[in-house]
């Protein structure tokens, strides 16, 4: 079987984000592969290493030109080849799912990994929307997974705790912390990755239309009081803090 694993590039979590004139300004921001997608790449590799019948692991990225760096990271981690559909500007997750579903069909994949939540748009929609386009089932927020024949078993988080599940392929799985520990690309693998196929594809052929218009993005920083209390005398510090919470913030009786 073939596995498709989605790759997005997002600002490094520690990087400062900037907005100007109602738009995000990512110029000069350090960009990385989305941590949530790394879990998917790692899981695909582990399924194969664990003996599952995985013919090919294909990475798919839908994003601006520089997303190629994130794709290279995934290739260096060990996926076999990648496809990059270049975009300019915002393409909402429901629209992106059209590209993903089309590629999945063309490539004949039977398992898709997508990150549970995107670190830039904070969206959880791409996996589910892709599953619906393909008329496939989905397991979201998966933190344990095994594949035997064509059947996935695993555990995933739900509203009030977690569930164990069983699911026959084809399926979409969204990934999160706990599923695995993504590996770091080694130098030899980084070198090898340079020779792997990274095919560019053209967005226009997918008919992916934005249905949501992004009007503006703003950073709103709440002014905080930043009032520091000296902790060298714990009793006095405790009294002072409780006083502030009772009388100034009025959150305690």
């Amino acid at each position: 079987m073939k596995i498709l694993t989605l790759i997005r590039q997002v600002p490094d979590a520690e990087a400062r984000v900037k907005a100007a004139g109602g738009q995000m300004d990512l110029g000069g921001t350090t960009m990385v592969i989305d941590g949530m997608d790394e879990y998917g790449v790692e899981e695909a590799l582990q399924l194969r290493e664990g003996g599952a019948d995985v013919e090919e692991i294909i990475g798919l990225a839908v994003g601006p030109a520089q997303t190629e760096d994130a794709v290279r990271t995934a290739l260096a981690m060990g996926i076999d080849r990648a496809i990059h559909v270049e975009t300019s500007g915002y393409l909402d997750p429901i629209a992106v799912s059209k590209v993903v579903a089309t590629v999945a069909q063309e490539e004949g994949v039977s398992l898709i990994f997508a990150g549970g939540q995107q670190a830039d748009w904070d969206s959880q929609a791409l996996g589910a929307a892709t599953a619906e386009r393909l008329s496939w089932p989905q397991a979201t927020w998966t933190n344990d997974l095994a594949l035997s024949g064509g059947t996935l078993t695993g555990r995933h988080d739900v509203d009030s705790g977690s569930e164990n599940f069983q699911l026959d392929l084809p399926a979409v799985v969204t990934t999160q912390q706990g599923l695995n520990e993504p590996r770091y690309p080694t130098l030899p693998n980084i070198m090898k990755a340079k020779k792997k196929e990274l095919r560019k594809d053209d967005l226009s052929r997918f008919g992916a239309q934005n249905k949501v218009q992004l009007v503006s993005s703003e950073i709103q920083v709440r002014q905080r009081k930043n009032q520091l209390i000296d902790g060298s005398d714990p009793q006095t510090a405790a009294q002072e803090l409780l006083g502030l919470l009772r009388n100034e913030a009025k959150v305690l009786n």
Binding site: W121, D157, R222, P234, L252
Partner: protein
């Protein structure tokens, strides 16, 4: 009509349903605010929903006894189509954000996700939501005969009961055979007030030192002041606390009146879940810990010394 997919648990309508109804009324869209109750043995829930909504549609069937994304999406899309809904609303819970995208694809509709504000706009609706680990507020606009919206828990005040019982109607549905089979449930019973509903939250980070210390310091303080208990991912990964208590990007989003962080460094993924709290209090022995940058009040000190003093001061 505006179609709201009601959230409920153990026979109780969830607060999020009243919040969705408030969001629906505030959206300025025409038509009756209609709650769809999916489940098995949900007569009571339907009665509760009828206190808030203009009308209630009920699908009471054994197959709907527990949530499943494929079933919920199929049911919501069918009713939205039959009733020519202009808005379909789900909760911003894990399940709500799991099946809403499927509904959007089925209806070929735009999807506004996890919104905190919603209003009518030229030819459709405009919404606000957070992005970039909740550091950015973005405004989105969508138009079309129908728009799917998931509503962030806690962002809207719950609607007040209308003072009347809205009419209830049973609905017929064609449901698919769900393909995800649940083979076991691990319900997390959290003894304290639900995190998303607590006015005050005490959260412990790795700095509290151990699972035992977490009980003594974090739970101890929470009990003394009547607060909910939260944890960082580092604490959950270490197995000191259940995942249900995790606050952050991959845990819960909370917005209490006061958030008291004990031995928490203040990583962005953690801040993304609690950064909107009204007051943030930090106790950390490292004066340079990032948490102090977002704190209203902070004590630079050892939690082993400060927290016991806080507990006894709060008790007396």
């Amino acid at each position: 009509m505006i179609l709201i997919i009601a959230e409920h648990k153990d026979g109780q309508l969830s607060k999020s349903t009243a919040e969705m109804i408030q969001a629906a009324r505030a959206s300025g869209q025409a038509g009756p605010v209609t709650a769809l109750v999916l489940g098995s043995g949900v007569g009571d829930v339907a009665n509760q929903a009828a206190q808030f909504a203009d009308q209630v549609l009920v699908a009471d069937r054994p197959e709907l006894g527990s949530y499943n994304a494929e079933l919920w999406a199929a049911a919501s899309a069918q009713i939205a189509q039959q009733g020519q809904a202009s808005l379909v609303m789900t909760g911003g819970s894990r399940s709500g954000r799991e099946f809403a995208p499927r509904v959007a694809v089925k209806l070929d509709a735009p999807y506004l996700e996890d919104v905190i504000h919603l209003q009518a706009a030229e030819g459709g609706v405009q919404a606000q939501r957070y992005s970039y680990l909740a550091r950015v507020t973005e405004t989105q606009q969508a138009s079309g005969p129908v728009v799917v919206v998931s509503v962030k828990p806690g962002a809207f005040a719950p609607a007040a009961p209308t003072g009347q019982q809205g009419p209830q109607y049973d609905v017929d549905l064609e449901l698919p055979q769900p393909r995800l089979q649940v083979t076991g449930k691990n319900e997390e019973k959290l003894d304290r007030v639900a995190l998303t509903e607590a006015d005050v939250i005490v959260t412990g980070g790795r700095g509290v030192g151990s699972s035992e210390k977490f009980g003594e310091l974090v739970e101890g303080l929470a009990d003394a002041i009547g607060a909910g208990v939260g944890a960082t991912r580092a604490v959950v990964d270490a197995g000191w606390r259940p995942y249900g208590e995790q606050v952050g990007q991959t845990g819960k989003t909370v917005q209490p009146g006061a958030y008291i962080a004990l031995g928490v460094s203040g990583a962005v993924q953690h801040l993304s879940g609690m950064g909107k709290s009204k007051y943030i209090v930090a106790i950390n022995k490292d004066a340079d810990a990032p948490i102090f940058k977002v704190a209203d009040y902070g004590i630079v000190g050892d939690v082993n010394e400060i927290v016991p003093a806080l507990i006894s001061a709060a008790r007396s």
